[in-house]
Symmetry: C2
DNA sequence: CGGCATCCGGGAAGATACTG
DNA sequence: CAGTATCTTCCCGGATGCCG
């Protein structure tokens, strides 16, 4: 019914903004809506498809994901791209500026890790875990520890490199890495951050280096 | 009417959370609601009263402000305190952990300042401006520039100090400062960030130092 | 199957009025 | 001044359905 009814929303005239020149306020208008920052997070290590995003954002509904992607696109944080044949699938990727939002997630995440209410037992996406390594690495502990690390987390494959106290990571095959971790992201997170036994995940390669790796990501002290 | 009606909200059973162990996701659950970060921002330079917060958050409604303050309090980011007599007024102040959220605002604000959609002509609170100085100061430009700066922005008075390339600021009387700026926060912001003529605000004291001060806060280049 | 539009129910936000 | 009460509007989340 009401077939040809013109949608009243011409351009969403009521753009619930903050009317505040403060940069932080404008930042909230850009990525402050529910789910927006987490959608962007999932794009930080490379393009993703709609269904992959939906799968790794447990609880988001398809229409909200569509809406967030559209908003992020028109704000210049996300780009829609069609992979060349034979793939020919559409993917979403972060723009350069979108990638520059990573420090926001890092600072926010580091700060929130001090919360007594933080529950590390919740699900965790593979991207989240990789980004957390980049965020939480303790440069002084990692100084002098060098090596390459492969991660097979479900269907996600990442290759990390440890050098000069920094952890770099990108999507890619894990072959030839000094250490290869295989398992679930949440499982590996439990080992690194929750003190779970190493047997929770499968480890191949240099066992001593693997054990060393797991000690490089200390959590900040809880408040209170 | 309906006086004794029991409020149905036992404990807000539907706590719309993200179900995500990622620290950033938890951060959003702590300060991700609309207005929350801006309320906290207004507390970064000392305790504030309800009416002051409402006045400096243009557009927030009283009930939303009440709700946000209550949530921030129960999460441990804000504390409610009663000033001793004869003042005897209630104020809200950030806890230690709440104060540690400042880097989030800084990173978010710096990132958003690159947005082409950012409108610097909007209203700006005095706290926002002071925090923006702390955020945007260019340490290399400020190296070797030392002095004290008073700000009389409406009823807000702040005392800043420039030393070692850093800008420190606290609430306080401006007497004896090397330079004293008097006017509206938005006006001073226009001079510092918008290239408006210095006459927009009233300046007392060391004019050369004042002119130098205004050059220490470069904006990042816009995207695109 | 992927992406998007539509409809619906509930809840959060906005505006205004009112009270101690 | 410091909120509370009420009403309306809008957004979020879930379900369904269309269409390439």
């Amino acid at each position: 019914m009401k077939s040809g009814k013109i949608t009243k929303r011409l351009k969403s005239e009521t753009k619930r903004g903050y009317e505040d020149a403060c940069g932080a306020a404008h930042g909230l208008e850009l990525i402050g809506e529910r789910w927006a920052l987490l959608v962007l997070r999932e794009l930080m290590l490379g393009p993703r498809r709609f269904s992959g995003l939906k799968a790794d954002l447990p609880g988001i509904s398809a229409n909200v994901l569509t809406q967030r992607l559209g908003e992020l696109e028109e704000r210049g944080l996300v780009r829609r791209r069609k992979l060349p044949p034979p793939a020919s699938v559409q993917v979403y990727e972060a723009t350069e500026w979108g990638l520059e939002a990573e420090p926001i997630m890092q600072v926010l995440g580091k700060w929130a890790a001090r919360s007594p209410a933080h529950d590390p037992g919740l699900p965790l996406s593979a991207v989240s875990l990789m980004l957390s390594f980049r965020t939480m690495i303790d440069a002084s502990r990692a100084d002098g520890v060098n090596g390459s690390f492969g991660f097979r987390l479900g269907a996600h494959h990442y290759l990390g490199r440890l050098a000069d106290g920094r952890f770099e990571v990108e999507r890619g095959e894990v072959g030839g890495a000094d250490v290869i971790f295989t398992g679930q992201a949440a499982g590996l997170a439990g080992v690194v951050y929750g003190g779970a036994p190493l047997q929770t995940v499968e480890v191949e390669g240099d066992a001593a280096l693997a054990r060393r790796f797991l000690t490089l990501f200390p959590l900040p002290p809880k408040v209170g």
